[in-house]
């Protein structure tokens, strides 16, 4: 089996429209959570969000392209562009045919869908534009990346709510590791800021009225985010041979299902996914130095995740660094795992572990070293990145420097 290197990273998020702006904010512990602008104030009870406010579609796509691309697909395309450029890939027809694209998307092009449904139900417009269907489909981002780079290998999209991107990266990793493909572009994208979608989140009562404070006392819930993360995966040998910059390796992937409840997480399921990722990587529990937690900041997630980490790591838990970067880029749902994999790989390669921002003080049910508010300079060999979805679906990536 081949070792799989990450040689390109693209990120767009509330922390800016580039990988470097993202990293600078993470390293400084600066949160991108601000008053919401994409929907009118007062639409929902929660006023704050992690919007990609630096992003202007017209800077990256022409008018005709924007007409057929939902915001979530634009994000996917833009992050993939940055990742491909970063990797310095030189396409040949043969390589394009042996390249896969696997994307995660939870709600897909629902912003466009919400708008067209409003046109119909509220504004009584009887005709739909012909793009309504292809704009809304969850694979629109993957397809756009395929057109843009002429990639003709396996291209598909995985939708498992908040685990979508980790499931996508995991599949892509396995395909490169096994030799099924030579290169993979993998990640996820999401753009959930439409009035209808936000009202639905309001109904779930899990969104914080102020900010996102994972593992902290006085945490009040998650903060919705948007954006995309895309990684270029290729065999380590190939990356070395062509002198590519290697951020780190995806070394293992583990999945599990709680088989328990639609929204209530179960620590046993989370623990089984972490163990599966470590086993797939052949990594010992003691070798792990950092976990980029799912860490949503909800009352239910954080203690459950803490219990799961303690169950897997036992005494080694005391030596673990755990942080939730959602405190800075928000919960980007189907893009979350990809943005967090990018954060983890940058942390490994740069020897700096991003903090959990907005932290006020300890909660005894979340007794981990969560790197409160200030990044820590530490060289870490192995890291995990956790994603746990509604529906009880867990996906964990193991990465190494």
């Amino acid at each position: 089996m081949r070792r799989v290197a990450v040689t390109g990273i693209g990120v767009i998020s509330a922390l800016g429209a580039t990988r470097e702006s993202f990293w600078q904010a993470l390293a400084a512990g600066v949160s991108g959570i601000r008053p919401m602008e994409l929907v009118p104030a007062g639409t929902v009870r929660f006023p704050n969000a992690a919007e990609a406010s630096d992003y202007r579609a017209a800077d990256h796509f022409d008018e005709k392209e924007i007409l057929v691309l939902d915001r979530f697909a634009q994000f996917a395309a833009l992050a993939a562009r940055e990742a491909v450029r970063d990797a310095g890939l030189e396409w040949t027809e043969d390589l394009r045919d042996r390249t896969a694209i696997v994307t995660g998307a939870s709600a897909g092009g629902q912003t466009s869908e919400d708008e067209s449904f409003r046109d119909y139900y509220e504004r009584k417009q009887t005709r739909f534009p012909p793009f309504a269907i292809p704009k809304a489909m969850s694979n629109a981002g993957a397809s756009r990346i395929s057109f843009e780079h002429g990639i003709t290998g396996p291209v598909f999209t995985i939708s498992t709510a908040c685990s979508s991107a980790n499931h996508a990266i995991g599949q892509a990793f396995w395909m490169v590791r096994s030799g099924a493909v030579e290169i993979a572009l993998a990640g996820g994208s999401e753009a959930p800021f439409s009035p209808g979608m936000l009202k639905a989140w309001e109904g779930m009562r899990v969104v914080s009225p102020d900010t996102c404070r994972p593992f902290s006392c006085d945490r009040k819930g998650l903060i919705l985010g948007e954006g995309a993360g895309m990684l270029v995966l290729e065999p380590l040998e190939r990356a070395k041979a062509r002198g590519a910059n290697v951020y780190g390796e995806i070394a293992g992937f583990g999945m599990s299902s709680d088989a328990h409840h639609l929204t209530q997480p179960l620590s046993d399921g989370s623990a089984r996914a972490m163990r599966a990722a470590l086993a797939d990587a052949g990594a010992a529990v003691e070798s792990v130095g950092y976990i980029n937690a799912h860490g949503t900041g909800t009352l239910a997630n954080d203690p459950t995740e803490t219990n799961a980490i303690r169950a897997v790591f036992g005494a080694h838990t005391e030596k673990l660094l755990v942080s939730s970067t959602k405190s800075m880029h928000g919960h980007a749902l189907g893009a979350a795992g990809a943005i967090e994999a990018a954060a983890t790989l940058l942390a490994l390669s740069r020897g700096l572990i991003p903090p959990t921002a907005n932290y006020l003080g300890p909660d005894p049910t979340c007794d981990l070293d969560v790197i409160p508010n200030v990044a820590r300079e530490v060289e870490v060999e192995w890291a995990l990145s956790n994603s746990f979805a509604f529906g009880g679906l867990n996906a964990v990536l193991a990465m190494r420097r």
């Binding site: 009870r45 109904g203 779930m204 009562r205 009225p209 009040k220 819930g221 409840h261 639609l262 929204t263 209530q264 009352l299 239910a300």
Partner: protein, 94 residues
Amino acid sequence: MAGDSTDLEARVIKVIAKTQRISAESVSIDSTFEELKIDSLDGINLIFALESEFNVDIPDEDARAIGSVRQMVQGIAQLLAAKSPQSTLGQEPA
């Protein structure tokens, strides 16, 4: 007025019974959510049904704190009292 309070209780119990697909007879003012097998998601769904029934907005934090039928009735009574200050429905805070 005791009559109002009992009416309110009956209305809340009716909403619970309908939302949980159980008989109203199986719900009493002293029932806990645990006894009624109401989990966290059911609880939020119940709050949603009560907001519609009484045309009130129940804040997230209050919603999380509710774990019994009595707390629900008291909470609704307070919200209704806040809506029309003259109302005699208000009870002591839970």
